[in-house]
Symmetry: C2
Subunit: 407 residues, 2 copies
């Protein structure tokens, strides 16, 4: 007796991302390389893990006193407090005034999911979202799936090869009243004081709601405080905001999905009301967030010696990134590659624009089997002593070839 | 300059659950006890952890070869396969025919969230959900929040003090065509072959979609295969279904939220289409599910000696539960408590009905500070040698008191 399937009308879902990685994996060429991994890689091409994490993991496994009961819906309290302190500083205005709080989430996707659900329900005037292009997948899609209208923006000026605050200000100028603005590493833009004033005035007058994204505090400049310092501008101007704070990448525990949705409100009473609603959403999403990652992180953050070791490990990663960038620039100079490559070292953090056009990117992929995203923004920690010569000579080839073909 | 808050209209959320636990915690009486914990407790009143878990946790922490990169959206492949094998048996029809699959989820709440999102989108004729009362919170609320109409049912017959298949059949008789039926431990109902036939016929003719809930396979009878054996009836009758399979409780790693949303479809092609859609939902929910729990479980399931040790630990828990139930019954007999208490030992698993009415429950809470849910369904692993005498004499008092007051 043949039965009709309940699932007859369900189509195969469109694959949303990872096509570059998939093409890379299917490539048989022995020289192939992938320069778009999300996480920091070691010089041996392995995902970076802070050395202090390994020790802490062992200590936790050996501790017979630990209780493996369900965690509260809001997450481990000591963890949330430690991550708020990390973000704002223990003595910051919002912490002292008791108007910053947070919910532990399953990674930063979880934080965006939770925040978007709240905004969908409680801020129905704000159903338009602006998000930086590189975060369209996956975070922009979360808003889109929920029915928000999502616009992408960028502050990379490809003509002048720099991160440009004016580009951002222009986007804000055009954005509608009351929209949601997802803001990533705005600190890298190096806004002047007058640009900051302009930005604040624009956002205030348009009642734009900031949703910050801090995916790897400490891995931009090597200094935890500096990486989050732009938040103080917003706090001091009396903004309310959400912030997705991920602590997976800067500890190197990618597989535990450790995130926090941080809330800053005008006062404690408003904060508690927002948190109570977020708790109900979190209960339906995952009820009890997982613990191993937050246990490791809380142990490290609450122990000054271990925190010091962690901070040093972050500095080490950032020093290596800067060294790699300098080497790439120098090798391109020695090869006589046309153009200035200063923009490589002027950008901060692991992920930076190479400053190549789409034709040059295409050349690198198809001719040299070097897989980089269309916008030319690569992960510099994927470059190491084993592959730097191949990569720089390939970039040189790509630039010369496309210059020649222009003539 | 006072600013208007974005959150002005956000009210404090209603607390949804945990009020019993909260009242218990606020009680100052030194004799107070809580008999409604979700997890199995040891005789020392601590959450139970399978002994093999501790060793495995240590081995994993010590393994330098492990990669802590992001897990795939669908979860760890080897884990999903191992949990499917556990549920159906390696050589079962659905596994051999490649039409059972799964997505790793964050606990069973995550599995219900994922499944409900899918059904909301792709099975729009099925927007009515029946769920067993004890699962209304939290799983029923997930459906309700998404806009489903949710009805509660029970198969506990409080008049005859037994789990009654006819109650369930009556509910199915009344349920509308094409609804979703969340089915928990139906195995405990001990349906006769003719009742099974009746159940299947009803569900088939009404095109009712089963959404099974296996929260702790092995902790009902102590036998993993027996606890999931009722699934074979549905498989053999050609049903398609979802199943939330949680592996947190039966390993004792409550804080890692290890779940799977299992899908059974008529054929592999349909299965792949459903899984592809589920992957998109999972990407927006948490992108990468956490790993520690699944690593521990996969290590144990894939190692015959360790799996054997785990199975033995489950048998031990169930033996203790049965012993406790026998003791409670015997003590009530010795106290001369009115009524038969056979229903206590006739029920399987940690959570069973005491068979008390609401007045008796109220008496236990207010007079004896013994906190049990209104329906009188308690966790028998909360009873141990230290508290059994107080509990049984209190039950005796409650029964005698309410009997007397009836006169």
């Amino acid at each position: 007796m043949p039965t009709l399937s309940v699932f007859t009308d369900v189509p195969m879902a469109q694959k949303l991302e990872g096509s570059l990685l998939k093409t890379y994996k299917q490539d048989d060429n022995p020289n192939k390389m992938f320069l778009a991994y999300k996480v920091c890689m070691t010089s041996e091409g392995k995902p970076w893990v802070s050395s202090v994490v390994r020790k802490t993991r062992m200590q936790i496994a050996q501790d017979p006193s630990l209780n493996y009961e369900y965690t509260p819906v809001m997450g481990m309290k000591s963890f949330v407090q430690a991550s708020l302190n990390l973000l704002f500083g223990k003595n910051s205005q919002v912490i002292v005034e008791n108007r910053a709080g947070g919910v532990q989430t399953v990674g930063d996707s979880g934080a965006f999911q939770l925040g978007a659900q709240f905004l969908k329900t409680w801020c129905q005037n704000s159903q338009i979202v602006y998000i930086v292009s590189s975060q369209k997948e996956p975070h922009g899609l979360i808003f889109q799936d929920m029915g928000f209208t999502v616009y992408e923006y960028t502050f990379w000026d490809s003509a002048h090869l720099c991160l440009d605050a004016n580009t951002l200000l222009n986007v804000l100028e055009d954005a509608p009243h009351g929209c949601i603005f997802v803001i990533g590493s705005i600190g890298n833009c190096q806004l002047t004081p007058s640009q900051w004033t302009q930005l604040m005035t624009l956002m205030k007058s348009k009642e734009i709601f900031p949703f910050f994204d801090i995916p790897h505090q400490g891995l931009s400049t090597g200094d935890l405080e500096e990486d989050a310092s732009f938040l103080h501008y917003f706090v001091s101007q009396g903004f309310e905001f959400f912030c997705s704070q991920s602590l997976s990448k800067n500890f190197g525990i990618y597989d535990e999905g450790v995130g926090t949705l941080v809330v800053v409100a005008l006062n404690n009473q408003l904060l508690l009301r927002v948190l109570s609603q977020l708790m109900n959403f979190a209960r339906a999403l995952w009820l009890n967030p997982p613990t191993t990652g937050v246990r490791i992180i809380t142990s490290i953050l609450c122990n000054p010696a271990m925190q010091g070791e962690w901070r040093q490990s972050l500095e080490g990663v950032v020093e290596n990134i800067m060294m790699t960038k300098e080497k790439v620039k120098e090798k391109l100079r020695l090869l006589g590659t046309p153009g200035s490559w200063d923009h490589i070292t002027e950008q901060k953090g692991s992920h930076s624009y190479l400053g190549l056009n789409s034709q040059q990117v295409e050349y690198l992929i198809s001719e040299k089997h070097i897989y980089i995203p269309k916008n030319g923004r690569i992960n510099f920690t994927c470059i190491n002593s084993y592959n730097i010569d191949y990569i720089t000579s390939s970039i040189n080839e790509a630039v010369c070839f496309t210059k020649d073909s222009e003539k």
